[in-house]
């Protein structure tokens, strides 16, 4: 199976984020990492390839720094990478990012495309589904298991309230992968060495520009959310804090 995995580079989970001076976006001088569900999507693609053979290709869109997530994926076992390299990709809406990806792979023939179910930065949770529609492919979302069948695949979708559902789906198809579908691997030293010689194709904004339209959704303002609740902060040494909490548990929460 030939599988494309869409990766996004996002600020590290613990990174303290600050608004930039213009107040329009976050300050970019933070540490980045691969979006967590995307890491699971990559792992699943590598496992499918190990079982059934084929090729794993990774793609990302973003400035030069985003190449790091591709390098890591190559070190873990992806065969080649595609980098839509331009800072402008960061501010595209979901449909335009999907259009850029579709344009970038127009000469490829994949059986499957994986994305993480959503990104930790924007949280739009729609790039994969949009990409499927643009390509005219079927899709399934929030996938926890994938099994190859004689024709197509059977996937396990996570539903709400603890329910699941199997869905049979023909190929080619797009799947959005849920965190926890598998156990992530680490890159090996040999893998890191080999990654240096693996192909990485760069595509500039101008090469996919004709596929992209104006953004239809526009972020007008980014800001620190106003608290909806008044939080009483409890301070002091650990023993004092513990006493104060127990007082609240007894007198206000009434559970002691």
């Amino acid at each position: 199976m030939k599988i494309l995995v869409c990766l996004k580079q996002v600020p590290q989970k613990d990174a303290p984020l600050k608004l930039n001076e213009a107040g329009a976006w976050i300050r970019e001088d933070v540490s980045y990492e691969v979006n967590e569900p995307d890491a699971y999507a990559l792992e699943e693609a590598l496992r499918q390839k190990e079982k059934h053979g084929g090729e794993v290709v990774v793609i990302t869109a973003g400035p030069a720094r985003a190449q790091q997530v591709l390098r890591e994926a190559l070190a873990k076992g992806a065969d080649r990478a595609i980098h839509l390299e331009d800072a402008a990709f960061v501010s595209l809406d979901a449909i335009n990012i999907a259009r850029a990806f579709a344009a970038a792979i127009k000469d490829e023939t994949f059986d499957l495309i994986f994305t993480g179910l959503q990104s930790d930065d924007y949280g739009y949770a729609q790039t994969g589904v949009i990409l499927a529609e643009l390509l005219g492919w079927p899709h399934a979302t929030i996938i926890m298991h994938i099994e190859k069948q004689d024709s197509g695949i059977r996937v396990k979708r996570e539903l709400e309230a603890g329910y699941f559902q199997y869905v049979d789906i023909p190929l080619p198809a797009v799947l959005t992968i849920q965190s926890g579908i598998n156990k992530l691997r680490y890159a090996t030293l040999i893998g890191i060495k080999q990654a240096k010689n693996k192909p990485l194709r760069k595509i500039g904004l101008s090469e996919v520009q004709s596929a992209i339209g104006g953004n239809q959704i526009k972020i007008e303002k980014l800001y620190v959310p106003q608290k909806s609740k008044k939080t009483e902060m409890i301070e002091g040494a650990p023993a004092e804090i513990a006493k104060k909490i127990v007082d609240h548990l007894r007198n206000d929460v009434r559970v002691l």
């Binding site: 989970k13 984020l17 608004l19 976050i26 809406d93 979901a94 449909i95 335009n96 999907a98 930790d120 930065d121 949280g123 739009y124 949770a125 729609q126 589904v129 949009i130 529609e133 079927p138 979302t141 929030i142 539903l159 603890g162 329910y163 699941f164 559902q165 199997y166 869905v167 789906i169 023909p170 965190s179 926890g180 104006g214 239809q216 959704i217 526009k218 972020i219 007008e220 303002k221 980014l222 800001y223 620190v224 959310p225 909806s228 609740k229 939080t231 902060m233 409890i234 301070e235 650990p238 023993a239 804090i241 513990a242 909490i245 127990v246 609240h248 548990l249 929460v253 559970v255 002691l256």
Partner: protein, 329 residues
């Protein structure tokens, strides 16, 4: 003619998903502020009862978009039926609850009409004649006001809990229900869905717990889980965890609280080392009292906590266990 907001409600096996009331409440609030009107639609097969229930709310009209091909939910079927319907009715704004099902078909539906939806909104703002939608960004560390560009119809979805379902206003008389027969070609539905099921019987029912001690990434290592367990035991409560902890196998899945786990509403929810990213918060917003311990003063969990401790949980929790034991003896 005022603009129309179309609420696309959700049903499964003919039963209305209660989260639909939240979307109706949101649509009613927007309509009142903008001078627009609200209509509702429901897609499926054999949905007359659910449509009638929807018609009890203050909406101009309810459409039951029916076809035998919509008996089981599929993204192909639902997107095709709603695309026809929306093309025909031309609503200005289409609102849906941000459920797993909506996440599955709504981006496809919007794309098929050349539109991009604003997902997972927590509110709206009127800005002159414009309508802005507020959504969380960067795992709740920031909020953004987002506008639509281009031509309607516009699509947005609301996060669970963005509006109160019990605030959905009832109508003085039932709204008219119109049944629309959707032309959906069953042969064009490419995916074949199977029955819903649950994994092996869940051992714990967190929904019934009065006290929950929940751990997040801040617990750092599996062996530290025992500390949280001791606190839960001393309080007579249940131990729970955020998704990453269960994904790592440190606690079984039935102890997970979040959008994909269980929704809980205990008297006390004690969050240890939980940052409060959106997914983790959705499942416990209804808790009566939330106490959060986190080393990061900027953690979004403090936005919704009643009491907050900025500090090292490995210092605070042992002291707290001791103090609780003292109080109980």
């Amino acid at each position: 003619m005022p603009e129309t907001i179309l609420v696309v409600a959700e049903q499964h096996a003919g039963k209305l998903n209660r989260v639909s009331w939240e979307t109706v409440a949101g649509a009613q609030a927007i309509a009142a502020e903008m001078g627009w009107q609200v209509e509702a639609a429901l897609a499926g097969n054999g949905i007359a009862a659910a449509a009638a229930e929807l018609a009890g709310k203050k909406v101009g009209k309810v459409y039951a978009v029916e076809s035998p091909a919509l008996a089981d939910y599929t993204p192909d079927g639902f997107a095709a039926a709603l695309k026809q319907f929306i093309t025909d009715k031309k609503p200005h704004l289409v609102l849906m609850p941000h459920t797993y099902q909506v996440r599955d078909f709504a981006p496809k539906l919007a794309t098929s009409l050349g539109r991009c939806l604003i997902p997972d909104c927590i509110g709206y703002k009127k800005d002159g004649n414009r309508l802005l939608f507020t959504r969380q960004m960067f795992q709740g560390k920031f909020a953004a006001d987002v506008s639509f560009a281009g031509e309607p119809p516009y699509f947005a979805t609301f996060q669970n809990g963005a509006f109160r379902g019990d605030k959905a206003e009832a109508g003085s008389a039932p709204a008219p229900v119109e049944t629309i027969t959707a032309k959906v070609d069953a042969a064009a539905i490419r995916t074949k869905p199977h029955e819903w099921f649950k994994e092996a019987k869940q051992a714990v029912d967190l929904t019934q717990a009065e006290i929950i001690v929940s751990v997040g990434r801040g617990i750092k290592e599996q062996k530290n889980i025992d500390l949280a367990k001791q606190l839960a035991d001393s309080l007579g409560g249940e131990l729970a965890a955020s998704r990453p902890i269960c994904d790592s196998g440190w606690l079984p899945m039935d102890r997970q609280v979040g959008s994909s786990g269980q929704t809980v509403a205990p008297k006390l929810y004690l969050a240890l080392g939980i940052s409060g990213a959106i997914q983790r918060i959705v499942g416990m917003k209804g808790s009566r009292t939330i106490i959060a311990v986190n080393k990061d003063a900027e953690a979004p969990i403090f936005e919704i906590a009643d009491y907050g401790v900025v500090g090292n949980l490995f210092d605070v929790v042992p002291a707290l266990i001791e103090e609780v034991k003292k109080a109980k003896s």
